[in-house]
Structures are given as C-alpha cells and as structure tokens.
Subunit: 113 residues, 2 copies
C-alpha cells in the first residue's frame, strides 16, 4: 500500500478507533492494525503527531494516566466536537468512495460481504 493514499483519511481512522472508548496512542495503533488485518500498520511517527494535531483541534482530549506508576500513558477520548467530526468523516468517506468507484468501475465494493 503506497504511503500517500492515507493522506486526509487518517483523522477519521483515529477518531473511529477512539469511538469504542478511551485508549492510549499505542493501543489506537494496535486497534487499527487488528481491525484491518495488518493493512494499516502505522508507524508511531504517524500516530503520535496525528493525535497531537487532533487534540490541538479539540476533537480529542488526552490526559496522563497513573503518574505514580512507571509506565506513562496518555489516554485520549473523543470530545463532543470529535464525535461530530467523526460523523462528517464517515459521510465524506462514503462520498469519496462512491466517486472513486464510479470512475474505477469494475467491482468497486468487495463482493464478499
């Protein structure tokens, strides 16, 4: 999978991974890898800056967990705005996928559902 195809779609993926509940960055990464059977195996240099961007944008909020213990984890959860944004991402994806498939033709959707 070429690298650039993900551009513009990552935010939706991260938001969706957090929809099921609060998670820290490393767990988000694992969720994506498992949900996609390894297709989205994103480097941490992709995950962490993206989470910071989403937090700055107010779509997720993070806080450090268990500071007394050694292992520091930053746990993120969707904000209300993030939940709205996720809805828009889903709509945008559907429109984009429909347009792509209209042009590419030929079995746009996986036939094995």
């Amino acid at each position: 999978m070429r690298a650039e195809v993900l551009k513009g779609h990552l935010d939706g993926l991260l938001l969706a991974a957090l929809e099921a509940g609060p998670r820290h960055g490393y767990a988000v990464r694992e969720s994506l890898r498992e949900l996609t059977d390894g297709a989205f195996d994103l480097p941490t240099g992709t995950i962490y800056p993206a989470l910071h961007r989403l937090e700055r944008a107010g779509l997720i909020s993070g806080e450090w967990s268990s500071p007394e213990q050694g292992r520091r984890r930053r746990v993120y959860r969707l904000t209300a705005r993030g939940r709205r944004a996720l809805g828009e991402e889903r709509g945008g994806w559907t429109a984009f996928a429909a347009a792509m498939s209209a042009v590419l033709g030929a079995e746009p959707w996986p036939t094995t559902r």
Copy 2:
C-alpha cells in the same frame, strides 16, 4: 470534499479515464466530473502536472494533435505499462477501501447501488 483525500488516488483516476480511449487533458477532466456527478471537479493545475508525471513514468503517452489547426491539444493514451498500473491501482483501491471501511464501520458501502 477536503483536498488531501485525493492524494495517491489521482493516478488511478486518470488512468481509468483514459481506459475508454485516448483523450486530451481537458476531456479527461470533464470525464471525471461527469462520471462522479461533479464530486471530482479538479482544477487544471491538478490535471496537467499529473498527466505530465504519468507520461514521464511511461504509463501514458501523449502527442500533439492537428498542429496545422489553431487549437493545440495533447492527446494521451494508455501504454501497456499504464494498463498494468491501472490494474494495480484497482487492486490497491479495493484493499484500501476494505481497510477503511473495516475501521469506520457503519454502512461502509453506499446501499443504493
């Protein structure tokens, strides 16, 4: 539709538009707009550099048509390598779309086929 979502997917679109037969750049642009009901209304500053890139890569070949007439048009056609590349683009799109939908869940494919 945000701009970045197209990144990495444009080549496949252009190749697909040329699959039906040779076309000049402006016609490719119109094909994409019509096939997608206006969803992909790409600026010429996107189309032309991308076609040049594909030509340099040997996936399409272009030649000027009707030089004696005033209006100059550069007509592109798929090369053999371009046709192969289009097949790979289709496969890549299917894999990408499947992974995206696995994460986004919830009605990944348009229900109105």
